[in-house]
């Protein structure tokens, strides 16, 4: 079972982020939207780190986090949002949902690699 889950409706982003983390020795699964992400966390409660976009069809990333914490009762998985959004209101919603960190795209792997290693440990 992978200990990192990358959630984004863009296959370009999933390939880029998951590919970079796998190249650096990490075990990564992917999901295509919040609904898929929620299902994968439900099926794999051992996942340690979720890296998720915000704006996605079917279920957005922040709703997914709220459901991970609420419906699934999973308070321990670390969640980092990777998104084009930067509004204070959205970050406040993330904080309230238990999001650990926020990255404004584009993804720069080297800048976050060690932090991701620690969050996924």
């Amino acid at each position: 079972m992978a200990n990192i889950l990358v959630v984004d409706d863009s296959s370009t982003v999933r390939d880029e982020v998951a590919g970079f983390l796998r190249k650096n020795g990490m075990d990564v699964d992917t999901a295509v939207d919040g609904k898929d992400g929620l299902a994968k966390v439900r099926a794999n409660p051992g996942v340690k780190l979720v890296i998720s976009d915000v704006n996605m069809p079917n279920m957005d990333g922040l709703t997914m986090v709220e459901k991970i914490r609420g419906e699934l009762g999973n308070k321990t998985v670390n969640v980092v949002m990777l998104t084009t959004e930067s509004s204070p209101a959205m970050k406040d919603r993330g904080k309230a949902a238990g999001v650990k960190g926020w990255i404004v795209k584009p993804f720069k792997g080297e800048a976050v690699l060690e932090a991701f290693r620690k969050l996924a440990a």
């Binding site: 409706d9 863009s10 370009t12 509004s87 990255i103 404004v104 795209k105 976050v112």
Partner: protein, 187 residues
Amino acid sequence: MATDLISARARASFERIFQRAAQSRLVRNAGDAVQIDAMQTLPEEDRSFDAVAAEVVVLTISSIAFRLVLLLRVQHDAATQAYYVGDAARTLRETFIEYGNLCCGAINQELIGHFPDLGMSTPYVLSARCVSYLDALKPAYQAMYAVTIDGTVPLQAMICVCANTPVDFMADMSAAVEESSGELEFF
């Protein structure tokens, strides 16, 4: 008149913000050249039925005061495919959608400083024929650009801003703003 709703300095600000976003987010490699030229009208080929085969990536940024529509179109030619996709096993369409998302995201990030209530759409793809119907939105501001990336990749960009109330703001008009994307902000 609707066109009076957006002040002259707001128009200049939208243009400058778009230019910065295009220069930083439509390139595959930082530092690749970006040439942006204003266009007054659509090219002839886009006003014919042949345009039905072309597609545009469309994103919107909405606030209480206005709605900004960004349309981006790439040519599906060898140079564009090589630049954006290279050897990756994915289509130019899938790849360019994300570049469009990043470009509009950069516009959104700058506008948030002036309009705190903004929401941005996910990208969607429409037939390029929609371009000739943009006037039906009665935009208060509209601009078209021919963009050339790295000297070889031609794009077209259009921005339409539909305003509900007067829109007036002044963006930072310098060539580049401080880049903070990609950093992890811990809560």
